[in-house]
């Protein structure tokens, strides 16, 4: 084997996967074709635009605090996993008898709109967060507080929600201020009398991000392989 064959061999061995598994799919996904609603299946027309509500700047705190090492954001199709059937992870199972539609769906490429990086996640030590805002909304309603407060309390003291959880408390994202001027104070005891615990801006933007994690807006049936096969 002389040096020339060696280099050519390497260039081919590295180049082919680089082009076909990296560069081309990357280019293809960068300019996704817009998806249209289908008049018959969706009973409406027009181009689908994802309308995500929440503060996507919070993604940077999600990243920096390593939430993705324990939490995923991916609802896989059934060939790859079963989470679509897990309660409250992918949406609500339908009830055809009472006309309730099945809102469960897999992740689609538009779900990460507006983010820099899709935090698919490394492990599922904790639950998938694709639809955490929906779960939070329910849980908050049961406690009679706002969803935002629920998230803030969850971040400050996860133990209150799940005893001895390994989900780390983000106490450093909160500060103590004079109780009189405090807005959005948490119902926990501050270190001193007359003080109250309030979120710093990072906690607010992280919660804003978590609030955006819900996949319950109407999407074209074409984007949803399950809906497509059901029809």
């Amino acid at each position: 084997m002389n040096f020339k064959t060696f280099v050519i061999g390497l260039a081919v061995a590295f180049g082919v996967p680089w082009v076909f598994a990296l560069a081309l799919p990357y280019a293809k996904m960068t300019s996704l074709e817009p998806v249209e609603f289908d008049e018959i299946q969706d009973e409406r027309t027009g181009v689908y635009e994802s309308k995500r509500v929440g503060r996507l700047d919070g993604a940077k705190h999600y990243a920096a605090n390593g939430c993705a090492s324990c939490h995923t954001q991916l609802i896989r199709p059934t060939y790859a996993g079963n989470e679509i059937h897990r309660k409250d992870w992918a949406g609500q199972p339908g009830d055809p008898a009472n006309g309730v539609p099945d809102t469960r769906r897999e992740t689609n490429p538009f779900d990460y709109d507006g983010e820099e990086f899709a935090f698919i996640g490394q492990t599922r030590i904790g639950p998938d967060l694709s639809n955490v805002a929906i779960r939070a909304e329910k849980a908050a309603a049961e406690m009679g507080i706002s969803t935002e407060q629920w998230f803030l309390r969850r971040l400050y003291d996860p133990n209150e929600f799940f005893y001895e959880t390994v989900c780390p408390p983000m106490t450093f994202m909160f500060k103590e201020v004079d109780a009189i001027s405090a807005v959005d104070a948490l119902p926990y005891e501050a270190s001193e009398e007359g003080m109250a615990i309030v979120p710093k801006s990072q906690a607010e933007s992280l919660v804003g991000y978590l609030l955006s994690l819900r996949k319950d807006e109407e999407i074209p049936a074409n984007l949803d392989p399950r809906a497509k096969s059901a029809n």
Partner: protein, 498 residues
């Protein structure tokens, strides 16, 4: 011990001594700073694992919140230790195999310092809260161009050495080294550009980051580990490599399979569907080069003539360990990444266990092997204590065995529980807990092992090693032949036995 090799040519001996002297500072710099970072990474790994079952530890300290510790741990292990150990080995092996003195020691040292400063800043950046959150690209974004620059500064010398070598046969290890030298900037550069610079789809960025993870494992750490093994096995035993054709086949199999691996992490994500499957297939097919290389190296080592060396040489011990680690990687890949098992292992502890097996159980053991070989040569002192070496070896072995059983077996069980949608989620979490405790224990072992290693290496670095012509062997008696096997050139060993 075959002694039909002429190793008394004084000119050769002088050349080798000159090469070793010219490399003393750069090589020792990479090895000692690598070992220091390894110790830091292991402590972070211990802490991160501890927090997986004892969340109260350092809970209120922002710098040590679980997610940050885990990111810091992985990145320090990769860039602080593994890369630097690889760099040290590459520089030394390249010089020895091309028979050229190192002329740019100062430049390499400068590059090494830049690298270490960048890592330090990166570590502080992660703990302070500036991480990108991407598992193997976790340093704040301004760090990676600096790392790449530092790489070019020191690698250029090795490439030049190879280009101006005297014409003639290129040894197997050299193929692997040149491939690794080319692969690193290619993988590192293109992955970081795709993720941090180009304006792509967030999902493809995630996919590229996982490809990077796979490619760095299979196309950088694996070739360097294998190069060390192919160097040490014939060198220490004085026997030629078992089969040249197998070596050739193993090399090309790795180069063809390696660049496809990684994206299996995104199975089920809405990206082109063949990508995760290609990734899973490559991870499984890795068994082919792994088996080829391991058989070839082990066949070279285990020969009735070599019994003495196998029992006595620390370098061989570690190399054998590394080869077994690589075989385990191959078989675990076969069991855990087929599409049936992948749904369970995709988001369980298995992936982490596989990484540790690759980085510690395979690559690091090979690197320790070459470090135990190189350091006495460049410092002109022998290792102080065979007991230290033994502790390092056995503690590492126990830890790896534990991690493999826990993360692979436990990870699989955990994955099954995650995929049982009717059972409560806490089932999966409860099943993880015992394994998390086991992982912490394993990190404890690795921490001890590497504390011993670090102290030993620091003493050698301070040139407090034994002044002796007898090498430190782990199996008792010194043997009559030359230290660490005959000092001939590999080429001559190959030729003499051809």
């Amino acid at each position: 011990m075959s002694s039909n090799v002429n190793n008394s040519d004084p000119k050769d001996a002088k050349l080798r001594a000159d090469i070793d002297r010219s490399l003393r500072h750069p090589v020792m710099f990479f090895f000692t700073s690598g070992a220091l970072w390894l110790f830091v990474a292991v402590l972070l790994g211990f802490l991160g694992s501890l927090k997986n079952h004892a969340p109260g530890v350092l809970a209120d300290c922002s710098w040590f919140t679980t997610g940050r510790v885990q990111l810091a741990h992985t990145n320090i292990l990769i860039y602080g230790w593994a890369c630097q150990a690889a760099f040290g080995a590459i520089i030394w092996l390249m010089s020895r195999l091309t028979r050229k003195e190192c002329k740019n020691a100062v430049l390499i040292l400068v590059a090494g310092h830049i690298w270490n400063i960048a890592i330090t800043v990166g570590l502080l950046g992660i703990l302070w809260g500036g991480s990108t959150g991407i598992s193997w690209m976790g340093f704040p974004t301004f760090v990676w161009p600096v790392l790449l620059l530092s790489y070019f500064l020191f690698a250029a010398g090795s490439i030049v050495q190879f280009m101006v070598r005297e014409p003639g046969h290129v040894y197997i290890s050299q193929w692997y080294l040149v491939a690794a030298l080319i692969a690193f900037p290619w993988i590192f550069g293109s992955a970081h550009l795709f993720v941090f610079v180009f304006d792509g789809h967030p999902l493809m960025k995630a996919a590229v980051s996982e490809w990077y993870h796979g490619a760095l494992t299979y196309l950088f750490f694996t070739p360097v580990g294998v190069a060390c093994a192919y160097y040490l096995a014939p060198k220490v035993t004085g026997r030629p490599v078992y089969s040249y054709h197998l070596a050739m086949f193993g090399f090309w199999a790795l180069m063809v399979i390696g660049p496809w691996a990684g994206m299996q992490k995104l199975l089920g994500a809405p990206i082109p569907k063949f990508l995760p499957f290609a990734g899973a297939a490559a991870t499984i097919l890795f068994l082919i080069p792994a088996l080829t290389v391991a058989v070839n190296v082990l066949k070279t080592i285990f020969h009735e003539d070599n019994e003495m060396d196998v029992n006595q040489s620390p370098s061989l011990r570690f190399t054998i360990g590394g080869m077994v680690g690589m075989l385990l990687m191959g078989f675990c890949g076969l069991l855990l990444f087929t599409s049936g098992a992948l749904r369970a292992t995709q988001f369980s502890l298995t992936g982490y266990g596989y990484d540790i097996l690759a980085i510690y159980g395979f690559f690091s053991l090979c690197a320790f092997g070459i470090i135990y070989f190189i350091v006495p040569r460049v410092t002109l002192r022998e290792w102080l204590s065979k007991r230290f070496i033994k502790w390092h070896f056995y503690l590492s072995l126990y830890a790896i065995a534990l991690i493999v059983i826990i993360s692979m077996g436990g990870g699989y069980m955990q994955g099954i529980a995650q995929n049982a949608p009717d059972k409560p989620w806490t089932d999966a979490a409860t099943r993880t807990e015992a394994y998390a405790v086991g992982t912490t224990l394993a990190w404890g072992f690795i921490a001890l092992a590497n504390f011993v290693f670090l102290c030993h290496l620091l003493l050698m670095w301070a040139r407090l090693g034994r002044r002796s012509t007898h090498p430190t062997l782990i199996g008792g008696e010194h043997h009559a032949g030359s230290p660490h096997g005959p000092e001939g050139d590999l080429e001559k060993i190959q030729a003499a036995n051809a």
